[in-house]
Amino acid sequence: MPSKVEKWKDDVYGNEIREHLLEFAEQGWESIPEDEHDAWFERFKWWGLYHQRSGQESYFMMRIGTPNGVIKPGQLEVIGDVAKEYATGPADNPEFGDAYCDWTTRQSVQLHWIKLEDIPEIFDKLESVGLSTQQACGDSWRNIVGCPVAGKDKHEHIDAWPVAEELNETFKGNDDYANLPRKWKVAVTGCDEGCGQGDINDLAFEPAEKDGELGFNIRVGGGLSRKEARLARDIDVWVPPEQAADVAAGMSGLFNEYGDREDRFNARIKFLVDEWGPEKMRQVLQDEFVDFELETAGEDMRDQYTYNSGGNEGHDDHVGIHEQDDGNYYVGLNVLVGRMGADDTLELAELAEEYGSGEVRLTQRQNVIIMDVPEENLEDLKSEPLLEDYSPEPSPFMRGSIACTGTEFCSLSIVETKNRQVRYARWLKDNVELPADHEDFHIHLSGCTASCAQPQIADVSLRGMKTRKDGEPVEALDIGLGGGLGEDPRFADWVEMRVPADEVPGAIKNLVNNFKDRREDGETFRDFVEARDEDTLADLVEPEETDYHDPYMHNTKMTWYPYVEDDDMQSSPAPTNGDGEPLPSDD
């Protein structure tokens, strides 16, 4: 029997949701019939709107899909303006203030505290510069990811940007693929460093050569969620760039037809690949979903992959100053946990215009890149005050930090994440010294098993948990080690479980010191972890209280907003009307 979500989708889904959404917005929050809340909130996701968690009713997270993380000239200013004007809630965040943008691990933008009534105006502003929230969430083609400097990279085999752009234009708003059994995540990689992160996507295009021609090998069924992490699997297919959209149509058509619509927990295509195996996936794709003969896989370039491979080679996280193929430079700036204040975002837009082409790109490590900076502008750009906070030369602990949304806004998260990871990174920067040959050290904090911060592919993986300390329940984290991508990707080994959150910085300090004491000459952290079993590694992680203070040890999920003085759920002003004024409660 189809799930309830499928029934709602059968009634209204895809592009047609927009007219309803705009009508509700026109009439206000209370116009959504109470007994239809769940159905409409599920549908609104398709237009990039996610109803915030309990205690924050009537407020939405809005996601803007920026394919391949490309923010074209003129777009960032609008994003900053929208954040400043509309993404303000009833309370400030103590680290980030009252309006901010989140750069996500899928090269998208997220804004919070969006009111339903403001959505028509926001859509007008975004769409006036070619930005859209369409399909940013929901069961369809999500934002396409790839190498953030595609088309301008010196390490590129194929310019992946036109391919990503074609896929975006073909499948965004396309009714044939608007209602899939579940989300559909696609990555296009064209460079020899592997920074498209194809291995953790539903469908991956990876650079490969066939009979002297450059194109893509296809992998299917990667993903990290639900303690069911999978690497995408090679289905022995190569396509030239001009056929990429045809194969993508075929594969998402296959998913549409054979994906599980009865059990959403079993719906992602990774489970179908588990069930069928790569050979059958290929066969069904060939027999039923493409009308040309599929080529067998070409020779891939994975042995050259350096991105997140643990080796501290290549441009890796794209932070820093790197030469483009046209002689200009891109300047990658570290944005700690991917969150940037609206005023800083507007300042960034100005700097991109003044020193570069105005184009900015987002990375899958929650950072931003100013593109197309002529060499003669580099010194002046580097001396701009904004770059003191968003540095191209940050501490490894700052540049390596990724955090998901967490209990601040998310229904699923178990723990607070972004503010905590900010505090972790600052403490680690001041108290822990990595070996000099480890400029990159990735710590990813995910509030739950959904894995939005991609914890399984970090050097140190942190995942939200609970434990008891002195008998009282406190927020805690599971600690995993040694994950990463590269030619032979591997997921982290979970070695120390349920560590109270205030003991995690001490644990990382002890781990790093043990690593420094025991490593072979030149041994990377990842190799060090790979060479040891879980028990040995667990002994090297020694959780310990330090002078690190964690203000979020209590059950932040039980608050309406974790950072306000009166955080009791009953004190929430939500739901509110279009002016942010509390609406009368039914109780």
Binding site: H37, E42, K466, K557, M558
Partner: protein
């Protein structure tokens, strides 16, 4: 009216009559359970896998783990609250910190998704 129950947002919460009522991330004490070997299971709810109605009880099977011993899995059916009067539809949640007894179903109940 019929009591309408489902889990949403990847099992993040249980909706009863279109109202968010039970969230993940709470600790539940489970007794007489074969979830793990602990005398009482100190169970962290990480996701609602199935929900159902066995009037007047609203029940769920919950994915999570015992934070004392680390055993993880899915509970048997747990009562998470009650809708005593289907006409009003008012939901009364149980106190998750008190002791609960998950049960294997011995009779059919209406399951929802």
């Amino acid at each position: 009216m019929t009591t309408d129950v489902h889990q949403l947002d990847d099992g993040a919460w249980i909706s009863v009559n279109d109202s968010r009522e039970v969230n993940v991330s709470d600790l539940w004490l489970l007794a007489r359970s074969d979830f793990c070997d602990c005398e009482t299971t100190d169970f962290l709810a990480e996701g609602f896998v199935k929900v159902g109605v066995d009037h007047p009880d609203i029940e769920a099977r919950i994915a999570g783990q015992c934070i004392a011993c680390g055993a993880s899995g899915i509970t048997d059916w747990l009562t998470v609250g009650r809708v005593v009067d289907p006409k009003s539809g008012d939901f009364y949640g149980v106190v998750h910190e008190s002791v609960h007894f998950p049960e294997k179903r011995t009779r059919l109940a209406r399951t929802a998704d």
